[in-house]
């Protein structure tokens, strides 16, 4: 048995193979660090590039700008993270934001609802939409992708119907102040508000029974149920929370614009999904975390803001955005936990 056909394979390109193995080992050993620091490095690199083009990128004013601009996306992304964590998807977030924005505007303009009332109404409408999603997914047992695709379409129609297609313009100093004013120094309220929601949600996601239940459902639904977790209620709660946060985001959006416009929130859907995945939460559920979403949101916000400040041509802006999405997911996603990537 002098047949040693395996040997040449290893001797031929030892160096290359060894190097590969070493890289793989290095990656495996330091994966958590790479996944956590990678996006930060990307952010810093982006900031460095933009600052070198226009130093004012790093000014305080712009930092507040960034807070303002990312606040709504942050709230929506936080909401959808709960749904994604349990392995479902909510395609209706953008439509809910639009619906809430428009109906809040109508309520203020035509029915003179006060600021407190409008806040309750906005969160309520959002939660109601989430409840409808939950009912479709859990009672009628439609896959969430399809169910929310349907509600997305329907809610879009309802928004247009409510507004009659027109811009719903209103004046409400209180609301404008909530959206655009500032309590603490010049830090914008909307940013503070979004961060507050984010921090609470992160804590809930990481430490509450609800958050743990979501992880368990995303990682293995049957196990969760057999461990005594009320799967249906948890899932429903996730959809409702997502809807409610979209409602809050919708109110904040309309508070900033003072005008309810059709489709005003629709762009948020894909941005939010991208932000969540860029943050490192897997779409298959069970892995990641609410707290990670902030990174993704910042990448998107910094990119848009920086490209504008740098005065980059629109076409190029669009093209670069797409590439950055892919690049940042490449860095952040912890693929080792995923058996297969779909």
């Amino acid at each position: 048995m002098s047949n040693t056909w395996y040997e040449p394979q290893t001797t031929g390109s030892t160096a290359g193979v060894e190097a590969k193995v070493q890289i793989a080992q290095f990656y495996n050993r330091h994966r958590p660090i790479i996944n956590a620091i990678g996006p930060l490095l990307l952010l810093m690199a982006m900031a460095a590039v933009f600052a070198s083009i226009n130093p004012r990128f790093l000014s305080w004013i712009n930092l507040f700008n960034l807070m303002r601009q990312s606040s709504i996306l942050l709230i929506v992304s936080t909401g959808i993270t709960f749904v994604i964590l349990m392995g479902a998807l909510d395609l209706s977030v953008g439509a809910i934001v639009t619906l809430v924005a428009i109906s809040s505007a109508v309520l203020i303009r035509d029915f003179d609802v006060g600021a407190a009332g409008i806040a309750v109404a906005a969160a309520g409408i959002g939660a109601l939409c989430g409840l409808v999603n939950a009912a479709l997914v859990l009672r009628l047992r439609l896959p969430s992708f399809v169910a929310t695709l349907g509600t997305m379409t329907i809610l879009g129609g309802v928004s247009t119907w409510i507004s009659g297609g027109a811009n719903v313009f209103f004046q409400s100093p209180n609301l404008t102040w909530i959206g655009s004013g500032s309590v603490i120094g010049r830090i914008p309220n909307s940013g503070v508000f979004a961060l507050l929601i984010f921090v609470v949600a992160s804590f809930v996601g990481a430490r509450s029974h609800f958050g743990r239940a979501l992880f368990a459902i995303g990682g293995g639904g049957l196990t969760a149920r057999l461990s005594g977790i009320d799967v249906l209620r948890t899932k429903a709660a996730a959809f409702v929370v997502s809807g409610m946060l979209c409602g809050v985001a919708g109110l904040l959006l309309v508070a900033r614009t003072s005008t309810g416009t059709s489709r005003m929130g629709d762009d948020l859907l894909l941005q939010a999904i991208a932000a969540v995945v860029m943050g490192g939460t897997a779409l298959s559920g069970g892995s990641g975390g609410v707290h990670r979403t902030l990174t993704g949101v910042l990448v998107i916000a910094v990119l848009q803001n920086g490209l504008n400040i740098a005065g980059v041509h629109t076409y190029l802006q669009i093209m670069v955005t797409g590439l950055i999405v892919v690049l940042s997911v490449t860095i952040t996603l912890d693929r080792s936990r995923l058996a297969s990537i779909k």
Partner: protein
């Protein structure tokens, strides 16, 4: 309570639209119904149709070129013969007119024209492509830009927030702005970024521009939504600088009144739609516009703090102050009244560089231009502009 009942009534009415169609149908197709401009548009068209005893319907391709074609296919198939509308995509005019020709329908296009496709190109004696109407965007934005530049004393930094690159309205409004800019050597254009026609994006862009540029003295918004977004960004930053927009939306009028926006350009979409409808009706009933009358500019109103009250009051009522029947050349062959400025387009300069290479204007049109039809018609339509939009 009254408001609630209005909503309920509106719902019932909308549901009722689904019912049968017996009177002569007229279709308006627009790129989207989700903005105020086309709501006002629809209001005008509806009242015009009613006064002509037509059965009015409006549909929207929702920003989708293919859907627009499908709508015309379906509606021509359903027997509609009078159509007018705003085409999201200029190039769609050709297939729409082809379809109209086949079924013997009439189409009036507003806003977007397809360079190289004059209505006469559809056939010398064919009125399927009845007319093209459009406000003179270059001139309008030139006028309002000049107003803005004058306001800041002819010198300073100006930011220009455009719509979306490539769209005709964007190109011609930018052209008008540039034309004015050329006349003011001390005005510096510091930034030109797209606000994508909407408030949310333009606000973001403006916030970023305020960071990027230390001093901005005035802002030119390519439309009202953009101007509004920019205004909010600027006011948030605690600055107050002159801003202009175009469209004449209701909320913009309020802001003009409050002095937060310097000026806007009122296109009066109610009139635009009604006039297009009446002209389509006329042609369907046998009126034959002359070669020069096939592509015309329609007037727009520059609205500033001085005239905003009058303009607002003019359009305030439930019933619009237009005599639609009087617009008709068929119903009133001699005493017709256009009720706005209308004048023929000098197509050669209008299309300019966009004219396809090797394109020859239809002979009938060329002959008419050579015989001075432009001035002739201008005088004629001026003579028929009696009931006035306040200026």
């Amino acid at each position: 309570m009254r408001r609630l009942s209005t909503y309920l009534f509106a719902t019932a009415a909308f549901l009722g639209v689904a019912g049968g169609a017996s009177a002569e149908d007229v279709l308006s197709e627009v790129s989207t119904l989700e903005n105020e401009y086309f709501n006002n548009w629809s209001q005008g068209a509806e009242q015009a149709a009613k006064s002509l005893s037509l059965n009015y319907r409006i549909l929207s391709g929702k920003g989708d070129a293919a859907k627009q074609i499908e709508i015309y296919e379906a509606q021509f198939g359903a027997g509609v013969r009078i159509t007018f509308g705003e085409n999201l995509v200029a190039a769609n005019i050709k297939p729409i007119v082809e379809m109209a020709k086949k079924v013997g329908a009439v189409h009036v296009a507003v806003w977007e024209s397809l360079p190289g496709f004059h209505p006469l190109d559809a056939g010398g004696d064919n009125y399927a492509f009845a007319t093209f109407f459009s406000p003179d965007d270059v001139e309008n934005s030139y006028r309002i830009a000049k107003l803005l530049f004058d306001k800041i004393g002819g010198k300073g930094n100006v930011a220009h927030i455009t719509g979306f690159p490539g769209v005709d309205a964007d190109i011609s409004r930018t052209a008008g702005f540039d034309k004015a800019l050329a006349e003011y050597p001390n005005i510096k254009l510091v930034a030109r970024q797209p606000g994508k026609w909407n408030q949310v994006d333009s606000r973001k862009v403006m916030e970023d521009l305020l960071v990027a540029h230390s001093k901005i003295d005035a802002i030119f918004g390519q439309n009202d939504s953009i101007a509004l977004g920019a205004m909010q960004a600027v006011e948030d930053a605690g600055v107050h600088i002159p801003i202009v927009g175009l469209d004449g939306n209701r909320e913009t009028l309020k802001l003009v009144k409050e002095g937060r926006i310097l000026a806007t350009m009122g296109f009066t979409p109610q009139w635009q739609a009604g006039f297009a409808l009446v002209r389509a009706y006329d042609v369907a009933k046998g009126f034959k516009p002359s070669p020069c009358e096939r592509m015309m500019y329609t007037g727009a109103t520059l609205i500033t703090a001085q005239n905003v009250d009058k303009y607002q009051a003019f359009l305030a009522g439930e019933k619009l102050p237009f005599d639609w029947k009087k617009m008709s050349r068929v119903l009133h062959p001699s005493d017709w009244d256009a009720q706005n400025y209308v004048w023929p387009i000098d197509v050669k300069t209008y299309w300019g560089a966009r004219t396809p290479a090797g394109y020859k204007f239809p002979k009938a049109y060329q002959d008419a231009v050579d015989s001075g039809c432009v001035d002739q018609l201008k005088a004629e339509y001026n003579g028929h502009y009696k009931q006035r939009i306040p200026e």
